[in-house]
């Protein structure tokens, strides 16, 4: 198969239902599902079937088809748990509309979300409805041909949507994540075929290096450099691992990408495998994300059957198999050496580096580990070229970043903005500010390894280096907003409690240090500490930071140090007289 064949296929899939002009897209990502999306989807199906078919002989004709005719005997196009067998496309006042389950549209706090759009239109060009109840289904379908339903309308020109730039999430909320054809129809797998048939591995490496992409899992290590290192390693057996062990509390970017556009991640992994010379890949995903696991499993099965995974991909000599490995609830497994230990069936305990995984990783073989979002950036880079990607973002941080916005903020959900966007814009414009007229106090980034940023620093541009100067990190992209009622000592204690219970116990500074730090913070929070305790806290933070074996321990003191830096008065106010 070459690029022209694939383009023909995409064209064919796009025109599969020429009579259908519109789609009612229901967000079926985890958050909307929990707020009732499956019921809304079922109601939309019922409402479609309830619309009487037009008289025979009329141009629009009657319906055939079901939810999505993907030509797949195994139930393609039907979304998990929704039970959507049965006729779906119906004529609504001259338009042919179908109901489709899609991935995350971003504004999770307004779920369940339904978008009515022309077939194939992007999210911004759709009419979006918020907090849809099953009884709203007939009104929404009627709006396909008429004016929007005003009481449910959620304008897509509001800053939450307008200020975003969607690259990683370009298909999220647009395509059906379970549909292979849906992915190919929007140009999916063309970058992989392009890499395999028109580029050498060295040329792929050059584009990735040129793009300036840096690891999205938190470290920010240049992706091109990492790939090149593994590519240079001798040895026949190499591995590609996708780190989907999204353990930071308050972060759900990877989950949303896997639930909304799983093929894109697989495609990124396959391109990586071609570039470094690997034939086997693993996706290490949290068992706490059953829906993501299910969609990924479906995607692997379908990609394999279509010949985009497995042996002789696109009729080239390149072969690549992907297997899923489930985590079992250990935060430390997000650390790369611990993750590999877990894939090998061991306790997820890190080991000292070097040797780095690039040299000696899974079963001692050279191994490339990247995060979900990093892999999701690969296909667009190959498609548009590294220079295109390097034109987005700041000097040292290229491209966009997906953030999970949560906490006390008006718009909770998933956003993607160019690197360098000011924090203030993210919180006040995109996030809609703090609800209830309360004042902003701090935003926490980077989870248990990050820190809190107070109001006076809101004008910094968000990129890897900017956040570092404030003593926090980009992390994987969780952003928790806190209002004036938040108690910063309590927040620091919360994160320390997390690190304490997630410490794997291998090295003493982390195992014992986090215990002692937690005890000190608890003492301070309870108002039983003195000035010397505060000094001890700071000293111990430095020790744990400097001497721990892996990232978990080295960064565990960050939330304490950062709150001490910006909110020291709160600590001091809790001290009892010396």
């Amino acid at each position: 198969m070459n690029l022209d064949d694939l383009a023909d296929k995409a064209e064919e899939y796009r025109n599969q239902d020429p009579d259908i002009t519109h789609e009612a897209r229901v967000c079926m990502a985890a958050s909307c599902q929990s707020s009732g999306a499956p019921e809304v989807m079922a109601a939309l199906h019922r409402a479609l079937t309830a619309i009487p078919p037009p008289a025979p002989g009329e141009r629009q004709g009657d319906v055939e088809g079901d939810a999505e005719r993907d030509g797949d005997s195994e139930g393609d196009g039907t979304m998990a748990g929704a039970g959507l067998a049965g006729p779906a496309d119906r004529v609504t006042r001259g338009h042919r509309c179908k109901v489709k389950g899609v991935g995350c549209m971003g504004l999770c706090s307004a779920g369940p979300l339904v978008a009515v759009a022309e077939k194939g239109a992007e999210l911004m060009a759709s009419t979006l409805y918020r907090e849809v109840r099953p009884e709203d289904a007939p009104a929404i379908l009627a709006s396909v041909a008429g004016p929007p339903v005003a009481r449910l309308h959620c304008p897509t020109d509001q800053p939450f949507f307008a200020r975003q730039q969607r690259i990683v999430l370009e298909n999220a909320g647009v395509i059906d994540p379970d549909s292979f054809k849906g992915y190919v129809a929007v140009g999916g797998y063309a970058p992989l075929v392009q890499a395999l048939t028109e580029m050498t591995p060295a040329e792929v490496l050059r584009e990735i290096t040129l793009s300036g992409l840096r690891g999205r899992g938190g470290g920010g290590y240049p992706t091109g450099l990492k790939w090149s290192t593994v590519a240079k390693m001798p040895g026949e057996r190499k591995f590609v691992i996708c780190n989907a062990d999204e353990g930071d509390p308050g972060a759900f970017m990877d989950r949303a990408v896997l639930e909304s556009d799983p093929h894109r991640v697989l495609e990124g992994m396959a391109i990586a495998a071609y570039a470094i010379g690997a034939a086997k890949g693993y996706v290490y995903v949290r068992a706490e994300y059953p829906l993501a696991v299910e969609r990924l499993t479906t995607a692997i099965r379908k990609a394999k059957r279509a010949g985009f995974l497995g042996g002789k991909i696109a009729e080239t000599p390149f072969s690549f198999e992907v297997e899923i490995r489930l985590g079992a609830g250990a935060f430390v497994c997000g650390e790369e050496t611990a993750l590999m230990a877990s894939i090998e069936g061991n306790r997820g305990q890190p080991r000292p580096r070097p040797p780095y995984p690039a040299e000696s990783g899974l079963w001692g073989c050279p191994t490339l580990i990247n995060n979900v979002e990093t892999f999701a950036n690969i296909a667009p880079i190959v498609r548009h070229g590294g220079a295109w990607f390097a034109g987005i973002g700041t000097e040292k941080s290229k491209g966009t970043k997906v953030f999970a916005l949560a906490g006390t903020i008006e718009n909770t959900g998933l956003i993607e903005v160019p690197m360098g966007t000011r924090l203030r814009d993210i919180i006040t414009a995109i996030g809609g500010g703090i609800p209830g007229g309360r004042a902003f106090k701090a935003v926490q980034t980077g989870g248990p390894s990050g820190g809190c940023i107070p109001a006076e620093h809101l004008d910094i541009p968000v990129d890897y280096d900017g956040l570092k100067t404030l003593g926090t990190i980009m992390g994987s992209g969780g952003m928790i907003v806190m209002d004036e009622t938040a108690d910063m000592v309590d927040v620091a204690r919360y994160f320390m409690e997390f690190c304490m219970s997630e410490s794997c116990g291998k090295c003493v500074p982390c195992r014992a240090g986090t215990q002692q730090l937690h005890a000190l913070l608890d003492k301070i929070a309870k108002g039983e500490a003195r000035h010397q305790d505060l000094a001890l806290l700071e000293e111990l933070c430095e020790v744990v930071q400097a001497t721990s074996l892996c990232g978990l321990g080295q960064t565990a003191p960050n939330p304490v140090l950062s709150t001490l830096r910006f909110f020291r008065d709160e600590y001091e106010a809790k001290l009892c007289a010396p």
Partner: protein, 164 residues
């Protein structure tokens, strides 16, 4: 000379052991399939007991201490049966900021169970999770697998009371 590895027989004629065995066979009885196998035991039986761990150790040719070590390392594996109902309170950052601790305390007080414990009558297990990823619905509780968003202590307790 090849040694024929003898695998232990299924512990009982309970059909669920066949599911567990199928997982191990699919992975060629390789030691690195341990975590997958333990997942499949827990899916089938709800928890891991000594019989199961001995069987898995024997089948994968691993020491019992290794199996026990892995089973106790990961939070998801349970060594005791869960209650008839499971209430998982998310204690991720967003839920914490929005009052998850109050939910845990309320349940703890009403049913006299601490997180990770089950009521003596086996009716309810109280568990906590490190973020279920539904931060838009904070504070969130997963009751018998169903996500309940924006909960107050009163709402959760009322739901728990209604359980059989």
């Amino acid at each position: 000379m090849t040694l024929l590895q003898t695998r232990p027989p299924l512990p009982s004629d309970d059909k669920r052991w066949k599911l567990v065995n199928a997982t191990m066979r699919r992975n060629g009885y390789a030691g690195h399939a341990l975590i997958e196998t333990l997942h499949s035991v827990q899916d089938a039986f709800g928890f891991l007991d000594e019989t199961a761990m001995r069987f898995v150790a024997g089948s994968l040719d691993l020491s019992l201490s290794k199996v026990y070590g892995v089973a106790t390392f990961y939070h998801l594996f349970l060594l005791k049966p869960k209650g008839r109902h499971a209430c998982v309170v998310c204690t991720g950052t967003a839920c914490y900021i929005k009052g998850a601790r109050g939910l845990v305390e309320a349940i703890q007080e009403r049913y006299a169970v601490r997180p990770g414990e089950t009521t003596p009558d086996g009716r309810l297990s109280l568990l906590t999770a490190r973020c279920v990823g539904s931060c838009g619905l904070a504070p969130a509780v997963v009751l018998d697998g169903a996500m309940q968003g924006n909960q107050t202590a009163g709402q959760v307790l009322a739901k728990l009371e209604r359980l059989d």
